[in-house]
Every structure is written in C-alpha cells, then in structure tokens.
Symmetry: C2
Subunit: 406 residues, 2 copies
C-alpha cells in the first residue's frame, strides 16, 4: 500500500515547467564554468503569449460575458449549453466525426482539467494504464495519483520520419498484460511528431480488439506544418467511438492559456462521469472564461495560416542551429511548438545542466526526465517565442554545451 507521503513524492513538480522560480540556485556555484552569458532571457518552458498574442476578439468575448452577468457566471458543471453546441459543431468538422454538444462535450479548466477528469473517470486503483515514453509529463502522474499502474510503451521518435515511431508490439503486449486504458498525445509532447495514419489505424485496431479505452490529447493538432496528414483516432472506422475520449483546448496555438480553457469530447457515459467529478474538483470552468471559446475555430480568415507560417520559420532556424552542434540529435517538429533535442555527453548531470542554463545563460528549458526515464539527456523547448530571441538563446545553449561537453 502506498502511503500518502510516498504518493505525493511521486508527484514532485520541482522540475516541471513554470516552477523554476521555486528552485534554490545556491548549490550551482561549484559547478559553474566560465562567466554568465548575457542575452535576453527566454523561458522555453511554455509559449510566450506576448510574442504570439491571444486570438483576436478573445478579450471582447470575455468582456461581453462579464457584462451579461449571472447568465454566464453560473453554468452547468459541464459548461454552458450554447457554447458546448457551438464547439461541438466545429470539433465535428475538424475531426471528421459527429459530436453531440448536449451529451458528448465538457468544458474544463484547461486541457489539464480535461485530462485529469478523463483519466479519473476511466482508471481506478490497481488498474493498468499504457503510457507512451516520452510523453506529456502529467500523464504518468495522473496514473500514479490514482494508485494505478503504468505500463510503458516506447516511442522511437528519432528513428525516422515516416512514423511517429510507436512500438506497436509493445502496445499489444501492454494490452495483453491487462492495460485497460491508453493515454497519449498526438502530436507527441515533447517530440513534436505526428502519428501516421498506419499507426492510428493500428492503435484503433488494438484498442478495439482488447476492449480498451483510449484518451488522446490533441492539444496541438491545429498547428501542423508542411501540409502533413493528421489522423483523428475518433474518426477511425477501426474503433468504436465510445472507446475514445479526445482532449483539446485553445491554450497553445491560440495563446489563450491565461483563460484556462479545455474541452473533452467522447461518449456520453464518460462525459457524464467527468462532469460528476468536475463538480467536486473545480465545479466548472470559470463562467466568464467559457465565453472565450466562442472565438475558437472561428478565427479571422488567414490568421491560423499566418500563425503556422511564423512558427514554421522559427522551427527551421532552430533545428538548423541545433544540428550545427556536434553530437546533438533532433527531429524537426511536425506539429506543435516543441523540439526535443538529445544532447551530447556532458560533464555535469542533465538536471544540473538545465539549472546552469537558467542561472548562467538566462534560458529556461524543461529537462527530459520529466517525459521519460529514457530521455534524461534531452531537453524540451517550446519555440512559440520571439523569433530573434529564440535564435540568440539557442546560440547560448550551444555555447553552454561546448563549455560542459564531457
């Protein structure tokens, strides 16, 4: 039996993105080689909503909601009906399969809220859950909080670019071993790769065969580069849609993170459970904030295309800069705004290097250990940033790699 102290030890956030301010820098002095490297600070742990600003009209929608008063302040726990209906129609069009706004959608405080509810509505103590490695760091923590068991499945994202690289034999073995839920992000966070149509088909086929539920985090599914194909699991003919919960939200590509809005859509039976849980976890997504979803998938013509173009330009320069550093392995981002370069051997421990980057070079990145025990030598960068500041910061990272090369 896990004690509550042990359970919370596993949920440590000390190295999680955004929490760097709570670290104690004193211990780093002995490790430091050379002076500080000056430059504009860049926090790659999340996107910069000052560089890529929120969707046009989002604040106007918020203001109108506050002015409308109680009608918007108090909504059903699952979110305001007319907003769910509007969003459902757009999500159906985007994913290529029907969504019923009344019964199959819940609005949550951020996509994190949706992930928590989806996992807690399908997993209970002792259950086995298939988790991809590497994948979004909260996935494993959700499973651990629920006293369930992680069954890891590897993603060989550096192995080529025709597939994301999922170990399908490993996934089948996980289901055979009793995993009743698979939780994964597509595009993958941190690696920025898209699962191929063949991979999505195989996941659908295996989940259906073994009667598993699949929770797929598609938070970055709108920010796709180079015209790559994207397959929505929920639209696959190989799987009963009643087995699939999809999570999305406007926090990333649309830069609406300050409003904390997420959406989960899936079978009525699971959305109902998620609402019951939301009632005791946070009651509802903030009423006024929900109104901002009215701007989602309704951006001005050309706005999304331009946003994708600007991100792709940063990606191209950033990937080139990392490739110029001897020993770095990096796969170009296919969707989303993350890169996950693997660094060469260094003379300091990976977590110390990440701390040194912050204190010596004013660059915040997220250590690879957050995403998989097998990616300790990698770092994640969210490049939804000012273009010039990004390149200058990557130059500082390159200098730091040379100073600490092992």
């Amino acid at each position: 039996v896990t004690t509550i102290v042990e359970k919370f030890a596993k949920l440590a956030t000390d190295n999680a993105p955004g929490q760097e301010g709570r670290q104690n820098p004193a211990a780093l002095a002995d490790l430091m080689r050379g002076d500080r490297i000056a430059g504009r600070p860049v926090d790659f742990s999340h996107g910069d909503v000052d560089a890529f600003t929120p969707t046009p009209g989002s604040f106007d929608a918020y203001t109108a909601a506050v002015q409308s008063g109680g009608r918007q302040a108090y909504t059903e726990y699952r979110g305001k009906g007319e907003i769910r209906e509007a969003v459902a129609a757009r999500l159906a069009a985007f994913t290529g399969a029907p969504v019923a706004g009344a019964e199959e959608v819940i609005i949550t405080p951020g996509s994190q809220g949706a992930l928590f509810l989806a996992v807690a509505a399908t997993v209970t103590a002792g259950d086995k859950v298939a988790i991809v490695q590497p994948d979004y760091f909260a996935n494993r923590k959700l499973v651990e909080f629920l006293d369930a068991e992680i069954v890891p499945v590897q993603l060989d994202y550096l192995g080529g670019d025709a597939q994301a690289g999922l170990d399908l034999a490993g996934l089948e073995a996980a289901f055979k071993a009793g995993a009743k839920v698979l939780l994964f992000s597509n595009p993958n966070n941190p690696a920025g790769v898209i699962y191929s149509a063949a991979e999505i088909g195989a996941i659908a086929d295996l989940a259906e065969r073994f009667g598993a539920t699949v929770i797929v985090d598609q938070l970055y599914a709108r920010l796709v580069y180079d015209g790559r194909a994207y397959s929505h699991l929920r639209a696959s003919s190989a799987i009963d849609p009643a087995r699939v919960v999809t999570v999305m939200g406007p926090s990333k590509t649309e830069s609406l993170s300050g409003y904390r809005l997420g959406v989960a859509f899936g079978p009525a039976r699971l959305i109902e459970r998620m609402e019951r849980l939301q009632a005791i976890v946070s009651l509802r997504a903030a009423g006024y904030n929900q109104a901002v979803l009215a701007t989602w998938f309704a951006e001005p013509a050309g706005w999304m295309e331009e946003r994708i173009r600007l991100h792709r330009a940063i990606r191209d320069d950033l990937v080139a800069a990392f490739r110029a550093v001897a020993g770095v392995a990096i796969r170009p981002t296919e969707a989303g705004s993350y890169v996950f370069p693997r660094l060469p051997k260094l003379s300091v421990a990976p977590l110390d290097f990440v701390r040194l980057l912050r204190h010596q070079a004013d660059v915040i990145v997220t250590p690879g250990s957050e995403f998989s025990p097998r990616t300790l030598d990698s770092i994640r960068l969210n490049f939804s940033q000012d273009h010039a500041a990004t390149l200058a910061a990557v130059d500082r990272i390159a200098q730091m790699i040379e100073r600490y090369r092992g």
Copy 2:
C-alpha cells in the same frame, strides 16, 4: 472493492445546485395539484450576481491583467507570488494568526478546487474522515471519490442559538474510531449557523489530542450578521496551526463567482502537496483571473457593511415569512446567505416537491438530501437575491406547501 461504476454512482449531481436544467420534467404531471403559480423565477440554488454585483474594480483588475500579458497568464501552479503575498497579509489580519505568502497559500479554481486539493492531500483510500451532517454536499463526495470512509457527526442546528449545535461527544467518538481528518464549514452550509468560541475550542482540543487534521471551509466568514462573534480555528491556541487548512474565496459575499477563485492557507507541507496535485488537476487558477484577488479584502470603505445590511434585511423578511407557515422550523441565519427551513409533512416525496416547486412555481431550491440523510424534509435557499423577488418566491413556496400538505 468499489468499482468505478459504483464510485461514480455515488457522485451523482442530478439534484445538485445548478444542474436542474438536466432533469426530465415529464414524470411530474401526475403529481401536480392545481395550476402553475405565476411569478418572477428565482433560482435559490446560488446567489444572483445580477442582484448583488461583483466587487467594484474587479473587472478593471482583470482587464489590466490581460493587458499585462504573459506575466499574468503563466504563474506558479500555486498562483502568482505577489498576489499570494498580498492575500496572505489580509488573511492574517482577518483570521488573527500569521500567514506566509510564499509557502502557506495556494490560489485555486474556486474554493471547490481548494477543498478538493485539501482533502486529497490529507486523505487516502481506506482512511476515516469525520463529516458534519448537515454540511456542504461536496464534502461527502470528496471522501467517497478517494475511497475513504465517512464518519458522520451530527449538528443539531435547530436546537438553540447559543451554539451551532455540534455533537462534541460524537466528534470525540469519530476521532477515537480512527478519523484522521475533520472537514466542516463555518458558518455551516446549509444551516447558516456560526460555531461558538466554545465549540471551536473543543474542536481544536479534540483534534490536537487525537492528532487529526482539520479542514475548515470559511467561505462565508465575512458575511456575519448582528455583530456575532466569529472564531477562527487556525487562531486557536488549543491546536497546532500545522494541523489546520483553511479554505476561503471571493465567490460568495463578493459575488466574484464567475471568476472561479479560491484560496487555501495552512502549513507549508500540505500546501506543497496541494500544489503538486493542482499541477495535474487543473495546472493553476486561470492566470488573468488571479489578478481579481487584488480587490479582495480591499473593497471601498463601507461597501461590505452595506452588503451585509442588505442581506440581513432579506434574511429578516424571509425568516418571518417562513415562520408564518404552520409546521416550518427555521433558525435565522447568523452568517452567510443560506436558510435551511425544515418543512412540515407533505403528501409528495421531498425530491418531488423540490421538482414541483421548479416546474409549477418557478422556484429553484436545493433539496435537503444533498446535505445529510437526516434532512430530507428541508430545503436550502441562497437568499443573495433581489429582495422583492425573494419575498414573492417565498410566498409561492408557502402556497405550494399548503397545496401539498400531508
């Protein structure tokens, strides 16, 4: 072992406040006596933020936060440091005991978020938790979600007005039986009564003696009538403050519910756990929304006094109106904006009467069954409403009681 289906069955929200729109009214036709009773609809399930509007300056604080951009969109999971510091100083002054903003405060999505985190950070599967009956309906559900065991302690709120009426012998028995946590609201929701200094002292003494943690929901502690004394458990000399987590928020008296803001304050060890959990449950309270807390405990001079005066006036009229109905028992609200009258015997089941009130008289109340299995014949009304509409609605309730008197 509880299955996930059984667990979620216990979390049913069908009769929870705000969820009435999801009910099916068809089955009521056979029960209905007489015609509809016309009148302006009143939803007593929550306060009316159009009648009692949000704190002056709250939207301005929000607007400034959106304009400040990324600095406010992304905060530490526990909330922005400078806001925590400001709130800590005010909560220390309000409660009469120190609060360290850096380590002892977490900002959450509503006080519901704070309650969830506090309970989940202190209770694990199989633990015993003392729960007052009646008390806020989510308390028992939180315990059930965590597969813990409820040990009920009765509150004889109709027994007199010198005490809230807690069964202290029952509380001692609960601790003796192994309850390691006590969770309760003060003032009590739904009964609107304040725990006396003697009761708070006894709770402190018992919790200290048995080594229990106490989570106290003080959401309505600012809306106190008639100059009544209010004792803050965390300031009691009889208990180690490291055993006490206090939950507050500006959703009620301040009418800021649409922003979903709550605060928990307590020992650094538990706040740290709560932050780790918030990181996977909702990440953080919406960044922009947090800025609205700057208006909390900083309202214009006289604003709170006037708000209390207006609520007291409604309370007085409402209590008089209920007392005029034969067989109704009601204790005048001492703090907060709830009354919890016990109705006389009716010819229809209590839940049916609540549904009839809604469909026949356009009055929404929350059934007593949400708060305790022993208060099925009571209804809760939040009277933070338009004064005249409240009295008209209570008149309709009185007519309905006569129609269905058993």
